[in-house]
């Protein structure tokens, strides 16, 4: 009986979400009094694999076939299931991100292993095996029991944090027969923004809404984001109006994010928007309306004009660095 985590890499590099996954799985394995294995798929350099040891991994299985550098969900799910079987894993853990959402359900069906997605913390109990997750788009928590012998979990971003350790990593190539007939989905083109901080990865996000009054007024938002090394985001009306791109829309039907700090400028705080940000560790709201619902979910608030407050914040942060 052991626990296995599938740590995704992007172009051969892990992200904080991968390290958080290892930290969580190590803590879980310790609670279960068992060992843990980390699985990596795609070409990843040895020095990069060894970084997993900084978060508790002592054994890594790697499938370094270059054909698998990009996510092919059926092939990845096949490999995760085979690796889980080979190490006799009872619990399989993935991150709740785009790839986790594609792979975990397939693994669940392959292994007849009950799945709970976007788990918030270590299991509430082990016998019965019960985990806690958000439901009703963040309005409540649900306790769910997994009844099958094997279990699949995906963990919500920023739910656990990073637990540093220093383990020596034993790296083993996991030899698996990859059926290329599984590759019915082919990538024709790929577009990735290189110059900006990626919203779903960002620790700090500066977001703005209709309170900015016009798309011409976004310079203070972008300036503050640059000073903070933050990603920019926006509310739904702003993306619907075409003031900002759809990829910036944060909310129930847009992106659901969980940064350390979310600054909401000129955003009233409608329920649908709050559903996208409520797991942020800290929320700062800036609005001219002291009754705006956003102040009900914010940790810190300023009643004021965004056009004055944002540059002041940028200046104050710049000064605090020197």
């Amino acid at each position: 009986m052991s626990v296995i985590a599938f740590a995704k890499n992007w172009n051969g590099k892990f992200k904080n979400s991968s390290f958080e996954l290892v930290s969580y799985t190590k803590a879980l394995a310790n609670q279960l009094n068992t060992n843990m294995v980390v699985l990596s798929i795609g070409e990843v350099a040895e020095e990069e694999l060894k970084l997993l040891g900084n978060y508790g991994a002592d054994k890594v299985l790697t499938v370094s076939d270059p054909q698998l550098n990009t996510l092919t969900s059926r092939a990845y799910a096949d490999i995760v299931a085979k690796a889980a079987e080979s190490v006799g894993a009872e619990v399989i853990v993935l991150s709740d991100n785009n790839s986790g959402k594609a792979i975990a359900p397939r693994v669940s069906v392959k292994l007849k292993a009950g799945l709970v997605a976007a788990v918030q913390e270590l299991p509430v109990s082990f016998e019965p095996f019960v985990v806690k997750k958000r439901v009703f788009s963040g309005k409540a928590f649900g306790h769910v029991q997994i009844k099958s012998d094997k279990k699949v979990l995906t963990i919500a971003k920023n739910c656990f944090g990073l637990l540093e350790a220093s383990c020596v990593v034993a790296i083993e190539e996991f030899v698996v027969d990859i059926d290329t007939s599984l590759f019915k989905v082919k990538i024709v083109e790929e577009e990735e923004q290189k110059d900006k901080v990626i919203l779903s990865d960002a620790d700090v996000v500066v977001s703005a809404g209709r309170g900015m009054r016009s798309p011409e007024n976004w310079a203070p938002v972008e300036e503050l984001a640059e000073v903070l090394g933050a990603a920019t985001a926006c509310s739904r009306p702003v993306s619907d109006e075409g003031w900002r791109g759809h990829e910036e829309h944060v909310g129930q039907t847009g992106k659901v994010i969980a940064p350390n700090l979310y600054i909401a400028a000129g955003i009233s705080g409608a329920i649908q928007h709050v559903a996208g940000i409520s797991r942020s560790k800290c929320i700062v709201a800036i609005n001219t309306d002291p009754e705006a619902p956003i102040f009900g979910v914010a940790d810190y608030g300023i009643v004021g004009d965004v056009m004055d407050v944002l540059p002041r914040l940028a200046e104050a942060f710049r000064n605090s660095k020197s």
Binding site: S73, K101, S108, H143, D201, K281, D299
Partner: protein, 249 residues
Amino acid sequence: MKILVCISNVPDTTTKVKFKEGDSLFDDSGVQWIINPWDELALTRAMELKEDAGNSVNEICVIHVGGASADATLRKALAIGADKAVRIDACPADAYHVAGQIAEYLKENPFDIIFSGIESSDYNGSSVGAMIAEFMDYPGISSVTSVNLDDDDIQVNRAIPGGKQVLKTETPFVAVVQKGIAMEPRIPSMRGIMMARKKPLEVKPAAELEVLTESIKFELPQEKGACKMIDSESAEQLVDLLKNEAKVL
């Protein structure tokens, strides 16, 4: 080409969420039920694909796993323009069970494209679509932001962190869709609502299938502490608090 759209029946977004029976069940008294927003967008896209003269889409069917209380929502899907609705009369106890029921239907009634919303706004499982693909051994694409048919050429856009990929695939396949799949959900016309009454809503018995997880109880989040208000002239104070109190900078 036939398209199947999986529909979840969920409480309206503004519902005040409450629980009953020792917090073990969702209290649905007074709740307005709607089509899960992502499923509604998926249905809208299916309609657009059918209406585009160049495509060979000739049937859109919606499917739901649940009880008769969902029939009104299914009629709304018919009013939007689906040709027929199927309800598997089973309790949607968990994603594995729901996906399994839909797969059983698919085995007897094949479709070329199966649309599923990325998650339902009530239990946020984000599992059913990809599970259907696995049960059927079909290709499945998740985080889909667009689906285009150019005769037999199927082009799907998938969101990746900070960007997108353009993919080609073949039928039959499952598209697990998110925001972007359609711009606005379609609103049923008066004519659509009238015609919906005459369109078939088939109720099928549940297949014998397992349920692997069980909801035990619910919990409301703790009340958040009051927002600390800072004077609009005191930006330095806020930066200091963010660094030293909240420790997020």
